[in-house]
């Protein structure tokens, strides 16, 4: 899709589960019907007091993660390949170029 303002190509990004289009030229953002409401809803959830965590309590709030991240990255909890016991292969990966 092309930017209606400067006609540069627009790219799709996933922000907190909402698909938005951003122009590669002027950086303008295009929202589909309902997407502004979705973002507003997410924002109000963000500013509300955090509900108690359902499982193991986390020392830090969930950090943002990229759209290509592992399914549970950024959502807290003991998912993914870490947890109580470090995987030996990951230890090795941390130290290699």
């Amino acid at each position: 899709m092309q930017c209606p303002k400067c006609h540069a190509p627009m790219h799709t990004y996933n922000r907190n589960g909402v698909q938005i289009e951003q122009c590669s030229g002027c950086r303008g953002i295009f929202l589909d019907y309902g997407e502004l409401e979705s973002l507003t809803r997410l924002e109000s959830q963000w500013s509300q007091p955090a509900p108690p965590p359902p499982a193991a309590p986390q020392a830090y709030p969930a950090a943002p993660a990229p759209a290509w991240g592992a399914p549970h990255a950024g959502h807290g909890g003991h998912h993914g390949h870490y947890g109580h016991k470090r995987h030996k292969g990951f230890g090795h990966m941390l130290f290699s170029s």
Binding site: H11, T12, Y13, N14, R15, Q22, S24, R27, Q58, A59, Y60, A62, A63, P64, A65, P66, A67, W68, G69, A70, P71, H72, A73, G74, G76, H79, G80, H81, Y82, R86, H87, G89, F90, G91, H92, M93, L94, F95, S96, S97
Partner: protein, 308 residues
């Protein structure tokens, strides 16, 4: 030619300029294509990769000597020649324990990077070599032969802008970067108790500082680094005023391209090694390949337009 015996002799003579017998043993700290490193007593000698350019290594060494609170300072300000190989000498420092990555000094690493990124750029410093290193990993994948993971990795690689593939000049030429940050690039001096310093200046140069945050970012995105450790690293970097990411808000527009590149780099090296050793990818390596697979479906995020 095997550089190790001559290098060991040079480490020994540098540690003991007066000669004489000693009780120190010689320890090979690394023996790879990109360098051989030997320790004797409190002295470390590094033979840089064959073909290393003196006019590029010299300003990198000078930079380390000029920032001793951030980078480990060399024992001598210029490289020596050893049968055609460039050799540098360093004091020995204690590395992070590879068997205890949970003790990794994330805050110290972040603070050192933030200070490096804010340091003035010395004249004559070449570009940092992070993207060139990633491109070499992709070249190794190409020459490794067929593998089912090669497709996803190469598709992820093609989503990257040319600068991140080492095919175009870096978009930032005003920021000092390490270029190859991982947990093996930190030592503390004096041993075990002293402050942490960054080591290995081979890829040091001017470039995009987010590249130095890309490995922890990628490990976190791949689900390998726990969120609290990533948050500790990122928060410490921001509190120190590091310029690679905005001071608050979503850091991913700045981190996305470098994190994708080092994820593809890590996956490419894992596959090349797996083919060479004729063994399957382990769970961690597969997680990195899976991330490459997901990348191809989502175009890279755009960093905010630079004002410089």
């Amino acid at each position: 030619m095997d550089v190790l015996p001559a290098l060991t002799a040079r480490a020994r003579s540098t540690a003991h300029p007066q000669g004489g017998a000693c009780g120190h043993s010689d320890t090979v700290l690394a023996e790879r294509d990109d360098g051989t490193v030997v320790r004797h007593g409190d002295t470390v000698a590094k033979a840089h990769a064959p073909g290393t350019d003196l006019t590029e290594l010299s300003p990198r060494l000078t930079t380390a000597a000029g920032l001793p609170d951030i980078l480990l300072a060399p024992l001598h300000p210029s490289p020596a020649d050893l049968d055609g190989r460039l050799v540098t000498f360093w004091p020995y420092g204690t590395p992070v324990d590879p068997d205890a990555p949970e003790d990794a000094p994330w805050e110290a690493a972040a603070v050192l990077l933030a200070r490096l990124h804010k340091a003035p750029v010395p004249p004559g410093l070449p570009p940092m070599r992070g993207p060139a290193r990633a491109a070499r990993a992709i070249a190794r994948l190409h020459s490794a032969g067929p593998h089912p993971a090669a497709g996803p990795i190469l598709r992820a690689w093609t989503t990257l802008p040319p600068w991140a593939r080492g095919e175009a000049p870096l978009p930032d030429t005003t920021t000092l970067c390490h270029g190859d940050l991982h947990l093996g690039q930190l030592v503390r001096l004096p041993a075990r108790t002293g402050p942490w310093r960054l080591i290995d200046v081979d890829d040091l140069g001017v470039g995009v500082p987010a590249w130095d945050l890309a490995r922890p970012a990628a490990w976190y995105a791949c689900g390998l680094l726990p969120p609290d450790e990533w948050t500790r690293f990122l928060t410490a970097y921001r509190q120190e005023g590091g310029p690679a990411v905005p001071a608050s808000g979503d850091p991913w527009p700045a981190l996305d391209v470098p994190a994708r590149a080092v994820t593809a780099q890590t996956a490419a090296l894992a596959v090349a090694k797996s083919v060479a050793a004729d063994r399957p990818l382990d769970e961690v390596q597969q997680a990195v390949v899976d991330a490459c697979d997901r990348m191809a479906a989502v175009p890279p995020e755009l960093p905010p337009r630079s004002t410089t």
